[in-house]
């Protein structure tokens, strides 16, 4: 039983990692490439979830609801960038933290006003709510959809950043915005696009999560911290790093959580193991982060040349 549990948990870990990657990819672009501290990434994730839920409840069209979230959150991100965040690029991190933190409060309050303080409903079509038999355990089909969507996004982001001219310009802008403009590239538009892209990915992640998680104000905060841990482990600004780190965090967290109790039970008394297990489990990724930083202060895959 331990063996099949391990395999299932690996699958779960990958799925969790992919979900984290969707969030981390957008945030690492904004953090690393624009050198902008965006605390409200989680708020965009929440927005994605609410928008998806509302659209699905109104139209009953599942896939369309999820897909529509992307342009909507891209637009929200772009508008915010255009009118507010643009003015903060040349300021220190503190001002950026404050401004985006303020927006978390504003977004949460808006969600609370529009949709009420209680969680909001989001279901999913029957076809997706089936399970698929893996080693005698029903594995939700929808989770496989998430894995597929996340992998697609990962490949897309990698190609975009590392293989296209657009990606080169983005990376160039990370180190010297003014010079990029001085060579004839509309850097403002570029920034808006990156921010929009990040927002879109966050929105998509939120939309994908909406059917599994509770859609409520503040749902973005816990996820934000987890995402940041992923980014720090992966190396800030590196999409590739974010991908591997997301998988590592997903796997370590999921497998650690379910396997640790067995490990503890094997050498501790059961009551002690029962107490130590959950405590360590809740800290396991922070410990992982501390470990990584102790050996590689710039993360596992730092952007080279900085």
């Amino acid at each position: 039983m331990l063996g099949s549990l391990f395999i299932i948990q690996t699958l779960n870990g990958i799925q969790f990692g992919v979900m984290l990657f969707l969030l981390a990819a957008g945030l690492t672009l904004v953090f690393g490439i624009m050198n902008f501290v965006n605390m409200m990434h989680g708020a965009l994730y929440m927005t994605g979830a609410y928008v998806a839920a509302t659209l699905y409840n109104k139209t009953g069209l599942f896939v369309m609801s999820l897909l529509l979230v992307v342009p909507i959150t891209v637009a929200i991100g772009a508008v915010l960038e255009r009118f507010v965040f643009k003015h903060l690029y040349d300021r220190d991190h503190l001002d950026q933290v404050l401004c985006t933190y303020g927006f978390i409060l504003i977004f949460n309050e808006m969600a609370r006003s529009f949709w009420g303080p209680s969680p909001y409903f989001m279901g999913m079509p029957d076809a997706l709510s089936d399970t698929y038999e893996v080693l005698g355990v029903g594995y939700p089909v929808y989770r496989l959809v998430i894995v597929a969507a996340g992998l697609l996004a990962a490949i897309g982001a990698y190609v975009l950043i590392h293989q296209t001219r657009f990606g080169m310009l983005i990376r160039a802008g990370a180190s010297d915005r003014a010079m990029v403009a001085g060579l004839g590239v509309n850097i403002n538009l570029l920034n808006t696009m990156i921010f929009g892209l990040g927002a879109g990915l966050a929105g998509l992640a939120g939309a994908l999560a909406a059917p599994i998680l509770s859609v409520e104000p503040g749902m973005g905060e816990t996820v934000l911290i987890l995402t940041v841990v992923v980014i720090v482990i992966g190396g800030i600004g590196s999409v590739r790093g974010a991908f591997y780190a997301a998988l590592i965090v997903g796997l370590v967290d999921t497998i650690g959580r379910s396997m640790l109790p067995f490990v503890f039970e094997s050498f501790l008394s059961s009551s002690l193991a029962g107490a130590a297990g959950p405590a360590v489990a809740s800290m396991i990724i922070y410990l992982l982060m501390a470990l990584v930083l102790a050996f590689r202060p710039n993360g596992l895959f730092p952007v080279r040349g900085r």
Binding site: L94, Y101, R112, I225, A279, S282, M283
Partner: protein, 320 residues
């Protein structure tokens, strides 16, 4: 050639007056409150003073050293639980509380700082946040000590005949701590250590090239700041006679940061004024609308966009 002056940054006269007036008002408040029979104001202002202490502590790293810590609530939490745990085990001696708070804060600051200070910029901000969250969830899972319900405190801190249980005593103690802290940070700002710290904020690479082991200095500042924030937690615990994991929640860290910026990052007096201003504005907004959190959000966005020097730093003459 005239000899270079001793470089004493003159505090503009009216700024001196402002400080003196504010101090006088604070000293007189409990007396006035007694005559007006409004003891509530003593409690209210004690809380403001406690947050002023915490904000000033944060300013030591954030304003003087450029370390944007998003996890200072960690130390407030530790300070509060020091009192609660001592009380839980029947210890009412304030010195024991204080020693416990300082030692544990220092230890936590050392451990988390050693990891966090390996990074800079965004990563530093986020790691400090993560550590505070870690503590938060740790406390919540400790059933023995009340978990998320928190731990009521039966024995407040008693320093000989000074018993913080008495609201007026607590008030004046907090006021004294704040005054001492502000004077201390003024001295620190100009002392060798402060100079090195400010140098690190402006250009850490250059400081390293000058031969300063910068991380060590930053770590010492971080530990110092953590200890002071721990003391503010101790005071808060005495005010509420209660310790709760929520003292260490990330919104508290955010609030502290806002107070510092609102008052004036890196100024000596600013953070205290910022704490007062922020909490009073919050209180005011709450009276007008149920959606006051959104209002606070708007205010914070505006502070981030506009308040480059903060309230205190924007006074004419730019006092420190």
């Amino acid at each position: 050639m005239s000899a270079p002056s001793l470089n004493r940054p003159a505090l503009p006269a009216f700024a001196v007056w402002l400080v003196v007036l504010a101090a006088a008002a604070l000293v007189l408040l409990p007396i006035a409150a007694r005559y007006a029979e409004t003891p509530y104001y003593v409690v209210l202002v004690t809380r403001l003073l406690i947050f002023a202490v915490a904000a000033t502590a944060l300013n030591l790293v954030l304003g003087f050293g450029g370390m944007v810590s998003f996890g200072h609530s960690l130390f407030m939490g530790i300070g509060a639980y020091s009192v609660a745990l001592c009380s839980y085990f029947g210890i009412g001696n304030g010195w024991a509380h204080l020693a416990f708070a300082i030692v544990v804060s220092a230890f936590a600051a050392m451990a988390t700082g050693a990891v966090a200070l390996r990074t800079r910029g965004v990563a530093f901000i986020m790691i400090t946040l993560a550590f505070a969250q870690m503590f938060y969830f740790l406390v919540i899972s400790l059933k023995e000590f009340g978990g998320d319900d928190g731990l009521p405190i039966s024995m407040g801190s008693r320093f000989g005949f000074v018993d913080l249980k008495n609201p007026t005593t607590l008030y004046y103690t907090t006021f004294g701590v704040l005054a001492l802290l502000i004077y201390g940070s003024y001295r620190l700002y100009h002392a060798r250590f402060g100079l090195v710290l400010r140098g690190c904020m402006i250009n850490e690479d250059r400081m390293r090239a000058l031969g300063f082991p910068t991380t060590t200095y930053k770590l010492v500042a971080y530990v110092l700041s953590g200890c002071v924030a721990g003391i503010s937690g101790l005071l808060l615990a005495n005010l509420t006679m209660f310790a709760s994991p929520s003292y260490a929640s990330w919104t508290v860290s955010g609030d502290l940061m806002i107070m510092v910026v609102l008052g004036g990052t890196g100024t000596v007096m600013g953070p205290a004024f910022g704490a007062f201003a922020f909490l009073l504005i919050e209180d005011l907004l709450k009276r007008f609308t149920d959606h006051w959190i959104g209002g606070v959000g708007v205010m914070i966005v505006l502070i981030g966009l506009l308040a480059r020097r903060g309230l205190w730093g924007s006074l004419p003459g730019r006092p420190r």
